[in-house]
């Protein structure tokens, strides 16, 4: 008599199956450890900068002259946060608005092409957005408030770039509204707007918040578009029309020639960016989990 207690999926004794498993596990370990590898490499490359100027100096130095031992990262961090914040503030209502329109108000013949259009927009390369900003948007702003390449231009381009993502994510979460609740609302005599405001939007809050957070993480990491339209002057902007430089633009501009401690500081900014993005994505996941049962 035997008691069988096989592992999850028992493979045969066949050589080929053992080979397959070994192969699959090695593929998966490469894929699974990729993130760990990336973080490890960034830390490794950042280590010299973290030990010599030390992280405090990134926030207290007066200027960014990496060849002359002045490593102020804070204006760039401010640029990143300001452009991202502005873009999210604009894109969130617009994105949710388009999503509500496509999901609730648009007739079928309009909703489908609308969705396709948004998907198409989501697939446009960032360098094309940046180029368009450079040749169309910046001259426009320049006529109004020179120099044109500015925080405002960056915010506008970023808004356009994250709008499709926000809208698609928001549509996905609106589509999950509980049909029973909708029927109940209809039975209570709610109109379309009433249902939307009192039933759908509150129940989708988690999904919408997640959409916003993911859009923010996308905007934080965006490089080419902001690099091309923001003017790239290292300063704390005093108005929307001042040029700024973001962390990402800084890396893209300087890595090709940076060496020694300068290079290491740039990797620190990359690490900082990565941590910001990971925490945003993490909190998006958390929000989805935590609010699902409310």
């Amino acid at each position: 008599m035997y008691t069988t207690w096989w592992p999850p999926i028992t493979l045969s004794h066949s050589r080929r199956d053992q080979l397959l498993r070994a192969l699959l596990w090695s593929c998966a370990s490469v894929a699974g450890l990729m993130l760990v590898c990336i973080v490890a490499f960034l830390i490794l490359e950042s280590a010299p900068a973290l030990s010599h100027p030390g992280w405090r100096r990134f926030f207290t130095d007066a200027a960014w002259h990496p060849t002359e031992d002045a490593y102020a990262l804070w204006p760039m961090l401010a640029g990143t946060l300001l452009s991202t914040g502005g873009a999210v503030l604009l894109a969130a209502p617009l994105g949710i608005g388009t999503a509500v329109f496509c999901q609730w108000y648009a007739p079928a013949w309009l909703a489908v092409p609308c969705r396709r259009l948004i998907e198409l927009l989501a697939g446009i390369p960032s360098v094309v957005f940046g180029f368009w900003g450079l040749v169309a948007l910046v001259p426009l702003i320049n006529q109004w408030q020179p120099p044109g390449a500015s925080l405002l231009a960056g915010i506008c381009i970023l808004t356009m770039m994250i709008l499709p993502t926000t809208s698609l994510l928001a549509q996905a979460s609106l589509a999950q509204a509980d049909p029973d609740a909708l029927r109940a609302a209809a039975a209570l005599g709610f109109g379309r707007w009433g249902t939307l405001r009192r039933v759908v939007l509150p129940s989708c809050a988690a999904g919408l918040l997640t959409a916003g957070l993911l859009a923010a993480s996308r905007a934080l990491g965006e490089t080419m578009a902001v690099l091309m339209v923001c003017g790239n002057v290292v300063q704390l902007p005093s108005s929307l029309f001042d040029p700024v430089r973001t962390l990402t633009a800084n890396m893209a501009l300087e890595i090709p020639y940076a060496a020694g401690r300068h290079r290491s500081v740039l990797f620190v900014s990359g690490l900082l960016l990565l941590l910001l993005v990971i925490s945003l994505v993490g909190s998006a996941t958390w929000v989805r989990r935590a609010l699902r049962h409310v």
Binding site: M1, Y2, T3, T4, W6, P8, I9, T10, S12, S14
Partner: protein
């Protein structure tokens, strides 16, 4: 592992001594070919089958009947160890198929499954052409000679009566066949490997009456060459084709073998009241 305390004897004449019935319909030839001894099956903590002991002869058709959920499918999947695919499933006891010890961890499952064909309730041809459906099992088991494959393919299709219907479109999609044709193709696919045993899990219940009749005739035609174990809800069919029959029932939430014997005896002179009730359609 905890041993199930339940043995199948509270009602006296139940399952345990199910071998070598007195007036067998098909002549038993020596030792039973397929022998299950005190088989228990658990899905996680839940027991699905308790203490099933059953002997099946080399030649003939054994019908398993009983209400849904009484563990008939589970029993079939123990015999070819498809239970391995369900992570939470645990089987205890002993199953012997010919000279193979089925449940032994040392048994080569692939060889075992080559010798035991299985037909499912829903026809499940692969999404390939008819030819590739039939050829791939042979190739998998090391037969690469195309002439040999073609010869086997033709004889298997003739055996299931499909040759005349599909010989001119062997390279078209198997999924384009009708349900009955698909089921016969699945039987042909199993026959390609020349198995000893055919396990059939309600092979007719997803088919229309015409196809169902076709498949039934086919099963009858195969009875001389294969050990056939068939699950069916159609009692009339079981009575028509089976040499032996076994009744399963759920008691205390666990599937059990209630009665087993020659089909004629089980259907005409059931020894157990549950069998009688089930046969007469009072319950079930």
């Amino acid at each position: 592992m905890k041993r199930s305390p339940v043995t199948a004897t509270p009602d006296g004449d139940t399952a345990v001594n199910a071998s070598a019935p007195a007036g067998a319909a098909a002549a038993p030839t020596g030792a039973p070919f397929l022998a299950l001894r005190r088989v228990n099956v658990f899905y996680g903590a839940r027991q699905a089958l308790a203490d099933v002991s059953l002997s099946i002869d080399r030649v003939g058709i054994t019908a398993l009947v009983g209400p849904s959920g009484s563990g008939k499918t589970t029993l079939l999947t123990c015999v070819n160890r498809l239970t391995d695919l369900i992570p939470s499933c645990r089987v205890t006891g002993a199953i012997r198929c010919g000279d193979l010890d089925v449940l032994s961890p040392d048994t080569d499952v692939l060889r075992l499954r080559r010798r035991i064909g299985m037909i499912f309730q829903k026809p499940n041809p692969f999404p390939f052409s008819i030819r590739r459906n039939l050829a791939c099992p042979l190739r998998e088991h090391g037969v690469t000679d195309p002439r040999l494959i073609d010869a086997r393919l033709e004889s298997a299709l003739r055996q299931v009566g499909l040759w005349d219907e599909v010989s001119d479109r062997l390279d078209t999609a198997a999924l384009a066949l009708s349900g009955g044709q698909q089921q016969r193709l699945c039987i042909a696919r199993a026959l390609m490997l020349s198995p000893d045993v055919l396990l059939m899990d309600e092979p007719c219940s997803a088919l229309d009456p015409m196809s169902s009749g076709w498949v039934e005739d086919l099963i009858t035609a195969l009875r001389r060459q294969y050990t056939i174990v068939i699950v069916t809800h159609n009692l009339a069919q079981a009575r028509r084709i089976a040499d032996h029959a076994a009744l399963f029932w759920v008691r205390d939430g666990v599937g059990r073998l209630i009665e087993h014997g020659p089909a004629a005896q089980l259907f005409d002179h059931p020894r157990h009241e549950l069998t009688a009730a089930y046969i007469n359609g009072v319950r079930g």
